[in-house]
Symmetry: C2
Subunit: 207 residues, 2 copies
DNA sequence: GATGTAAACGGAACGCGCTCCGCTTAGGTG
DNA sequence: CACCTAAGCGGAGCGCGTTCCGTTTACATC
């Protein structure tokens, strides 16, 4: 039903059945208009009709390109998240490979928290209730954490723990930690690191 | 602490400024109608207008009583959650007090998972994005977990860890674990217990 | 009872996300 | 170039959650 068309903007290097020129033009127009509107007012004050009007496009076109509001938000985030994902897989340590798993776990949390901090509103919209992780980057994060946890914390269910850790970083949850509970970003980061350390069996101080 | 007699409440044992008879009658009608409809079709197929019509009440009345859709869902859940809350505070062990904190943590997870399992859809509706824990029972759970964690896992930030653990039990997250990832309830329960044990420094295979 | 008034009422109306469907057009084919 | 067809288009329209506001009513006071 929601076939998210999130292909590369310009060059069709894959074998997509072909994208018509007008379709490509409209997608770019929509992305440009949406980016501008969101930067100006914040996504919660930008309706789908606003975007369509600003892009000189019918609402039908908007929805055919991006599926729904969440899909559009995801597309707007695409660039930022892709950078982070690349850093995870092939970047420099400690985010990328080359250091102990426990250290990479800490780095993941801190890096991802920065990302969330910058784009909370967009991320909240990109993750509608009941559709967690659909097509989004979450499955990659889950796999990443699972692998790291298998190394760093072999005594727990790595898949489960990966989800549990990710749950704390979910946009809505982070928003609640920061605004609802009034926690500083530093506290959340420290909390993450403490949790990870505790799981990876770091030496505890005894009295 | 002087008791100036400003107005004598008749049978109003609470401190509500007075609830008019028609208001009370309508609230009961709404709750009855909503309960019936939700049992019959599931909340996702019950609109606010449906409830208003079935209760022979204007939509305005519905909203004045319950605020919004989430508030109505919360009210429908009230009975079930209250039982659980009572069990936490003054019930029999291991849910209630009387056993080590680590054991109560495990019991909390298992009990709450049962609750969530029975009422996921309602709980998802009761927790709209960005309004986590507003007026709901979450702050109580958070406090409960915080206190237990201070006992069981003194080496981590108890408040933070409470939130992290709760995040995994959030309705939307649980729905994803169960339906999205296809995990069995048993696996989730075991995962919870494993995590809690790991945090509470249960004996590992080294001194 | 008569009266005043704040609370409660109901449903029309709004804005939103999203769908539907008749029309248009890009781009391959002969 | 003319033709064909499926992909693309746009915007009217739907159903929803929510709000607004003129009307009604419960209840205290006289």
């Amino acid at each position: 039903m929601m076939e998210a068309v999130l292909e590369l903007p310009q060059f069709d290097s894959g074998q997509t059945p072909h994208e018509r020129a007008d379709a490509a033009r409209n997608r770019l127009r929509i992305l440009a208009a949406a980016t501008e509107l969101v930067e100006a007012r914040g996504i919660e004050h930008v309706s789908m009709n606003d975007v369509a009007r600003a892009a000189c496009v019918g609402t039908g076109t908007l929805y055919r390109r991006f599926g729904d509001r969440a899909g559009l938000a995801l597309a707007l985030l695409d660039q930022h998240t892709r950078e982070f994902q690349d850093a995870l897989i092939s970047g420099a340590p400690p985010l990328g490979p080359g250091v102990p798993a426990a250290e990479r776990l800490r780095a993941f949390g801190e890096g991802y928290l920065d990302l969330v901090e910058r784009h909370v509103e967009l991320l909240v919209v990109a993750e509608p209730p009941g559709r967690i992780a659909d097509g989004g980057p979450y499955s990659l994060y889950a796999t990443h954490l699972t692998l790291l946890l298998r190394d760093a914390a072999p005594h727990v269910d790595a898949e489960f723990t990966a989800q549990a850790l990710l749950a704390m970083l979910r946009p809505a949850q982070h928003l609640y930690s920061r605004r609802g509970l009034g926690w500083s970003l530093e506290r959340v980061r420290a909390g993450w690191c403490g949790l990870v350390d505790s799981l990876s069996g770091e030496p505890r101080e005894s009295p």
